[in-house]
C-alpha cells in the first residue's frame, strides 16, 4: 500500500483477495504445517496450530509494524513483496518454507524458499500466479527456531534481522542449520555460518565463530542509522542471541 500511495506502483487494476477465506488458515497435519497466503500476522500470532519448532514464524509475525498493521497485513503479502527489510521472508527462508503457487489455468507448482526469494522486491512468482499457501515440513528431531531484529525505534523495520532453524541429533550434535539475514538486501542465507555449525554442539564459541564467518561473506554499508561496522556487530550479537534461543528451544522439546 505504501508503494501504491507513493506512486511507485501504478496498478491498472487491483483485485482484492480478502474475501477468499479459503486462503486464510493455519493447519498442522501429517507432518506438515500449512499457512494460507491470506493469513494475517495477528492470526499467525494467535494460532495454536504452529508447533514450537517453527516458532520463528511467530517471532517474526508478532513484531511486524504495529498491531494495526498486524490486523491487516498477510503472510502472502509480505512474502510476495519481499521487501529488503522484511521479517517474515527471513523466517520462512530459515524454516525452509515451500510456496504453493497457482496459475490462471488452475495448475499449481511448489517453489522452495531458496528458489522463491530472488532479491529485494523480486520473487519467483510469475506475473499471473497467486500464492496460495506456504508449507513447512515438521521434523522428528530436536528442532528449534527463532527470529530477532534491531531497528532504531521499537519494532521498526529491521536494520538487521536474523532467523535461525537448528536440528540436533540424539547426540546433541547440530546436524542441520539454516541461518538467514534480512535488512541489507532482503532475505538471504548465511551459508558459511550454517556449514560451520553443522557437526558441532553449537556452543557459544562455535556460534560466535559462525557469525564471524557470516560477516566475512556479507557486505554492509553505512547510512544515517548505522555504520557499516555496526551492522556487522548487529549481525554478530543478534545472530548469537537468535541461535542460542533456537538451540534452547530445540532442547526444551526433548
Amino acid at each position: 500500500m505504501q508503494a501504491v500511495k507513493s506512486r511507485i506502483l501504478r496498478p491498472a487494476h487491483v483485485i482484492d483477495l480478502q474475501a477468499l477465506s479459503e486462503l486464510k488458515f493455519v493447519k498442522a497435519e501429517k507432518g506438515l504445517l500449512t499457512v494460507g497466503a491470506m493469513t494475517r500476522y495477528v492470526d499467525i500470532v494467535s494460532s495454536d496450530s504452529i508447533p514450537l519448532e517453527l516458532i520463528a514464524l511467530k517471532d517474526a509475525a508478532s513484531r511486524v509494524g504495529d498491531r494495526q498493521v498486524r490486523n491487516r497485513g498477510t503472510l502472502g503479502g509480505s512474502l510476495c513483496w519481499n521487501y529488503s527489510a522484511a521479517c517474515t521472508p527471513a523466517a520462512v527462508l530459515a524454516l525452509d518454507g515451500a510456496m504453493n503457487l497457482i496459475s490462471p489455468d488452475g495448475s499449481t507448482r511448489q517453489v522452495a524458499a531458496d528458489d522463491f526469494f530472488l532479491g529485494p522486491l523480486e520473487t519467483a512468482r510469475k506475473e499471473f500466479e497467486i500464492l496460495l499457501s506456504v508449507d513447512f515440513k515438521l521434523t522428528d528431531s530436536k528442532s528449534g527456531s527463532a527470529y530477532k531484529k534491531w531497528g532504531l525505534v521499537t519494532d521498526a523495520l529491521p536494520v538487521i534481522g536474523i532467523a535461525a532453524c537448528l536440528h540436533f541429533s540424539n547426540m546433541d550434535c547440530c546436524d542441520y542449520a539454516r541461518i538467514t539475514l534480512t535488512g541489507l538486501s532482503g532475505a538471504q542465507r548465511c551459508l558459511g555460518a550454517e556449514a560451520s555449525l553443522v557437526s558441532t554442539s553449537a556452543n557459544t564459541e562455535q556460534i560466535t565463530e559462525a557469525m564471524m564467518i557470516a560477516c566475512s561473506e556479507i557486505s554492509t554499508y553505512t547510512d544515517s542509522i548505522a555504520t557499516e561496522d555496526y551492522r556487522y556487530q548487529l549481525i554478530k550479537t543478534i545472530g548469537l542471541e537468535v541461535i542460542e534461543t533456537a538451540k534452547k528451544r530445540a532442547f526444551s522439546l526433548a
Binding site: V153, T154, A156, A226, Y230
Partner: protein
C-alpha cells in the same frame, strides 16, 4: 466537577473542557472545516537542492479535467510583493533574502515550492502536479555551514554576496573596541586557568514536528475581503502580514486559528510562503482555496531546527569555580526564506541563553549563521537553545571530570543563588530559587546511593550511569526582547466580558495547540468571580473578535495572557463591588467583598449579599440609580506587561544502562525538579513536562533530518524520520519546587516552552557516566547506539 482546593479553582486538577469534543471526534481542525466549492491546492516542489529554473511546462497539467489554475514564480513575481516585509522582519541586522511564495529563477532547497496547482479535488491536483515539468540546470549545492562561509563557496542568495546571513557578538558591550577588550580579558583568564576544557559540540538537524501538518483555507469576498483559517500560533501577525504583502486593506483581512490545532511547538509560528499564495489564489479565482500539507511536505520544509556547531571552552579553578566561558557558535540556517524568524532568530536567542543558570564572571560568546541549500530552520520547542544547552551541559561535565568533582556538585556551586540576576549576555532572571530546585532534584536522585549501585553493577559487568542537566527558560517574552527580536509586543491581552446571566466570555488573540488554555483560563476566571469554570467560555485566535496577541509562543500563557485575564477580572470586580456597595448603601470597596459560591458577600455583615448573577444583570441590563460617574456594562480589556522579563527554572536527572556489546542504552529513571510558579491545573502542567521531556529524548536519540551529498532530503516520511513511540520512552518522576512569581498577579510562570533543552545534556551525561571506565566523552548528537559502540571500540582497542 472536580474537588476544589481551598474553595478555589487554583491548583485543581480539573479535567479539561476541551476533552469531550476531542474524545468524541468533534474537534474542528483547519482540515475539517468545509466551505462548499473549495478548490484544492497542491504544490509542485523542487527536486534539487540548488538549480536554475530554465522553464516550467504546465500545458499537460492544465489539460487535465478539473484543474482550475496553475501558478508559477514567473507570473506571481509581478503580482505579489516579495519578502522581506517589515511586519515579519526583526529589527536585527542581517542579510534578509529576497523571495516570493514560489521560486523565482532558481530553487535553493529540495522541496522548495515551485508551482501551485489548484484543482477540483486533491486527487486531481496530485495528478496534475505530476504533469508539471520543470527544466532545471543543476548548480553546486552548498551543504556544509563551514564550507558555506569560505570565500570560494558558491553564493546562494547572490545579491547578498555572502552566505553569512547573520553574525553577532553577545558579550563585551556594543562596540568592536569593547568586544575586543573583553575577548582579550577572557583570553587572559584561559591562559592562566588551572582547568580548561575545549571541545567541539555538534547538534544535528532535528525539531518538533506536530502531529497535525500545516493547512490553510481561504475564502474571498469582493466586499468583505479575505477570510483565512490557518494552522497558526499567531493569527494576528499572519493577518497583518497577509494584508501588507497582498495589499489588502487590513480591515478586510480576517484570520482565524481554529480552537482545535494539532500541536504547534513553534512550527506553526512563522509566516509561511504557502499561505501568501493560497490567499492570493482565493482572491484571484474568487473561490475558496484549501491547502492541506502532507507529512512529506512538512518534513521536507518545516520542523528543522537545532543544526549547530558550538566550539566551546570553559575555564575553571581547582575548587570548582567557573571562571570563564568562550563559545563560537555556527548555525546551519538552511535558505532562510521564512518570515518572522528567517531561521537565524533561533540561534540568536540560543546564544543569549547559552550561559544557562550559572554565574559566569566573564564570557566571550559569538555566533555566525550560515546559509545552505536546505530547508530554512523553523522554531522548535526549546527555541534556539537546544544545541547550546547540549554543549554547555556536556562541557560542564567534562570540566567536572577534569577537576575530579561530581558534576552535580560543580553545577550547584556555580548556580545563580541570588535573584534577580542579569546574565553575562544581559538576559534578566527575574525570580526563582535555583538552589531549591536543585536540592529537590538531588534529594530524589540520591546520588551517594547510586554510586554504590553503580560500583556493584560494574563488578557484575553492567554499566549504569547518572546524568544531570538544568535549564533557565523563558516565561513569556518581554517587549524589551520581543520588539528588537521580532518587531512584536510582548504584552498579554485579554477581554473579559460578563453577560446578564452571570456567564463570562473571555477573548484572547493567541492561538493554542493543545495546552489546555480554555480550561486554565476558565479556572482562573472562576476563582476570581467565585463561579464555576463551566460558566466561562473562551474564544481564541480570531482576529475579528480578540485583542492583539503576539501568539502562543515563548510560554506566554502562564506568564502574560493569564495575568491579563486576572487583571481584567479584578477590574470588573472593582466595578461590581462599587455597584453593590452603592445599592446596599455601604461604605465599601472591592476588598470588603468576597466573591464565592456564585455570590458576592459583604465581609462586614454577611447578610449583605447578592447573587453574582443578579448584580451582574443589574449592571448590564438596569443601569439606573448608579454610583456617581459610572456607566452600565461589564467588559474589560487589559494589557499586561510584567515589569521585567521573566524566567522559570528546571532540572533533570536520568539514569541509564548501556550495553557494551551494542552501544544500546535504556533509560531506567527520569527524575525532574521544576519551579513552575503557582500552578493553576496540575494535570496540564504535568502533561506539559512529560511531553517536553519525551520530545527532548526523541530529538536527542531518534530524530534526524538527513541531507545527502547532493542536498537531497532523505527523511521526509515517518519511516525514515523516526519518532519515539510509546515503547521507546520511560515514565517520568516529576517533582515541583515552586516559588510564586512576584511579577504576575497570580504568581504563575509561563512554562513548557524551553523544557526540552536540558534533556540532551542530561541524557548524554548519563551515558558518558556509565562509560566512565572507558573515559568516553560524547560531544556529537544524535546519541545513537552505533556511535556509542564505536566509541567503546576505539577506547578498548
Amino acid at each position: 466537577m472536580s474537588q476544589r482546593k481551598n474553595d478555589d479553582w487554583m491548583g485543581t486538577p480539573l479535567p479539561r473542557k476541551e476533552d469531550r469534543r476531542l474524545l468524541t471526534g468533534k474537534g474542528k481542525y483547519v482540515s475539517d472545516i468545509v466551505i462548499p466549492g473549495a478548490l484544492h491546492a497542491v504544490f509542485v516542489r523542487s527536486e534539487y537542492a540548488h538549480a536554475k529554473i530554465l522553464s516550467i511546462d504546465t500545458s499537460e497539467a492544465e489539460e487535465l479535467a478539473g484543474v482550475e489554475r496553475i501558478y508559477t514564480g514567473d507570473q506571481i513575481k509581478h503580482l505579489i510583493k516579495s519578502m522581506p516585509q517589515p511586519i515579519v522582519q526583526p529589527a536585527l541586522p542581517a542579510h534578509y533574502p529576497t523571495f516570493w511564495p514560489l521560486a523565482v529563477d532558481k530553487v535553493t532547497f529540495h522541496g522548495e515550492p515551485v508551482a501551485l496547482v489548484i484543482a477540483r479535488d486533491k486527487y486531481v491536483a496530485e495528478d496534475a502536479a505530476e504533469l508539471v515539468f520543470v527544466d532545471y540546470e543543476e548548480l553546486e549545492p552548498v551543504l556544509d555551514p563551514e564550507e558555506a562561509l569560505k570565500p570560494e563557496s558558491a553564493i546562494i542568495h547572490e545579491k547578498d554576496g555572502t552566505n553569512e546571513i547573520f553574525s553577532m557578538t553577545f558579550t563585551g558591550g556594543d562596540t568592536e573596541a569593547s568586544q575586543a577588550k573583553n575577548a582579550a580579558e577572557v583570553e587572559k583568564i584561559f591562559q592562566n586557568a588551572p582547568i580548561v576544557v575545549k571541545d567541539r559540540f555538534k547538534t544535528h538537524r532535528t525539531g518538533v514536528t506536530p502531529m497535525e501538518p500545516r493547512a490553510i483555507l481561504c475564502d474571498w469576498d469582493d466586499s468583505d475581503g479575505l477570510l483565512a483559517y490557518i494552522t497558526t500560533q499567531r493569527p494576528h501577525i499572519d493577518r497583518l502580514a497577509l494584508s501588507d504583502i497582498l495589499d489588502i486593506s487590513a480591515e478586510k483581512v480576517q484570520v482565524i486559528a481554529p480552537r482545535d490545532q494539532g500541536g504547534g511547538f513553534g512550527v506553526k509560528a512563522p509566516f509561511y510562503r504557502e499561505n501568501i499564495i493560497i490567499a492570493h489564489a482565493a482572491r484571484d479565482l474568487k473561490q475558496p482555496v484549501r491547502w492541506v500539507e502532507s507529512r512529506y511536505e512538512s518534513l521536507m520544509n518545516v520542523g528543522q531546527e537545532r543544526d549547530q556547531i558550538n566550539d566551546m571552552e570553559i575555564a575553571a579553578d581547582l575548587e570548582g569555580n567557573m571562571l570563564a566561558l568562550r563559545n563560537f557558535g555556527l548555525a546551519d540556517n538552511g535558505v532562510g526564506t521564512t518570515g518572522v524568524y528567517w531561521g537565524f532568530v533561533m540561534p540568536f536567542l540560543g546564544a543569549i541563553e547559552l550561559p544557562n543558570g550559572y554565574k559566569w564572571p566573564k564570557a566571550d560568546i559569538r555566533l555566525k549563521v550560515a546559509t545552505t541549500n536546505k530547508a530554512c530552520l523553523t522554531p522548535s520547542r526549546a527555541f534556539g537553545h537546544f544545541p547550546t544547552r547540549f554543549a554547555i551541559e556536556r562541557c560542564i561535565d567534562m570540566v567536572a571530570h577534569k577537576i575530579g568533582m561530581e558534576p552535580s556538585a560543580f553545577r550547584r556551586k556555580n548556580l545563580v543563588a541570588d535573584l534577580p540576576y542579569t546574565s553575562i549576555t544581559n538576559e534578566y532572571f527575574d525570580s526563582g530559587d535555583f538552589l531549591k530546585v536543585w536540592d529537590t532534584l538531588m534529594e530524589k536522585a540520591n546520588l551517594p546511593d547510586f554510586r554504590v549501585q553503580q560500583k556493584n553493577a560494574l563488578s557484575e559487568g553492567k554499566y549504569i550511569g547518572i546524568g544531570f542537566g538544568c535549564g533557565v527558560e523563558l516565561s513569556g517574552v518581554a517587549s524589551e526582547l520581543f520588539v528588537p527580536m521580532e518587531n512584536q509586543p510582548g504584552y498579554g491581552a485579554a477581554t473579559v466580558r460578563l453577560d446578564p446571566r452571570g456567564k463570562v466570555q473571555v477573548f484572547g488573540g493567541d492561538a493554542p495547540g493543545g495546552q489546555g488554555h480554555e480550561t486554565t483560563t476558565a479556572q482562573v476566571v472562576a476563582s476570581e468571580f467565585g463561579i464555576s469554570p463551566e460558566d466561562v467560555i473562551i474564544t481564541t485566535g480570531n482576529t475579528g473578535s480578540t485583542p492583539f496577541g503576539s501568539g502562543s509562543v515563548g510560554a506566554r500563557m502562564g506568564s502574560y495572557f493569564i495575568s491579563a485575564v486576572a487583571e481584567a477580572c479584578r477590574e470588573l470586580k472593582t466595578k461590581i463591588a462599587k455597584f453593590l456597595a452603592h445599592d446596599l448603601q455601604l461604605e465599601a470597596s472591592v476588598e470588603h467583598f468576597e466573591f464565592k459560591n456564585g455570590e458576592v458577600v459583604y465581609l462586614g455583615d454577611d447578610s449583605q449579599r447578592s447573587s453574582f448573577m443578579s448584580i451582574v444583570e443589574r449592571i448590564i441590563m438596569f443601569p439606573i440609580n448608579m454610583p456617581e460617574g459610572e456607566t452600565g456594562g461589564l467588559d474589560a480589556t487589559t494589557f499586561f506587561e510584567a515589569a521585567k522579563p521573566m524566567i522559570c527554572f528546571n532540572a533533570d536527572c536520568c539514569v541509564v544502562e548501556v550495553s557494551l556489546e551494542t552501544g544500546d542504552f535504556k533509560i531506567l529513571k527520569w527524575i525532574t525538579a521544576e519551579d513552575v510558579g503557582n500552578v493553576i491545573n496540575p494535570l496540564i502542567v504535568n502533561g506539559q513536562m512529560h511531553g517536553a521531556i519525551v520530545q527532548g529524548i526523541s530529538n536527542t536519540v531518534f530524530e534526524e533530518f538527513v541531507y545527502d551529498e547532493q542536498g537531497q532530503q532523505l527523511t521526509a516520511d515517518f519511516e525514515h524520520y523516526k519518532m519515539a513511540n510509546a515503547a521507546d520512552v520511560p515514565n517520568i518522576d516529576l517533582n515541583y519546587a515552586t516559588t510564586p512569581c512576584p511579577h504576575t498577579p497570580l504568581g504563575t510562570r509561563g512554562i513548557g516552552e524551553g523544557r526540552p533543552s536540558s534533556v540532551p545534556g542530561a541524557l548524554t551525561n548519563a551515558v558518558c557516566d556509565a562509560l566512565k571506565p572507558f573515559e568516553i566523552e560524547i560531544t556529537t548528537l544524535p546519541l545513537r547506539p552505533d556511535a556509542i559502540w564505536q566509541k567503546i571500540q576505539d577506547a578498548t582497542q
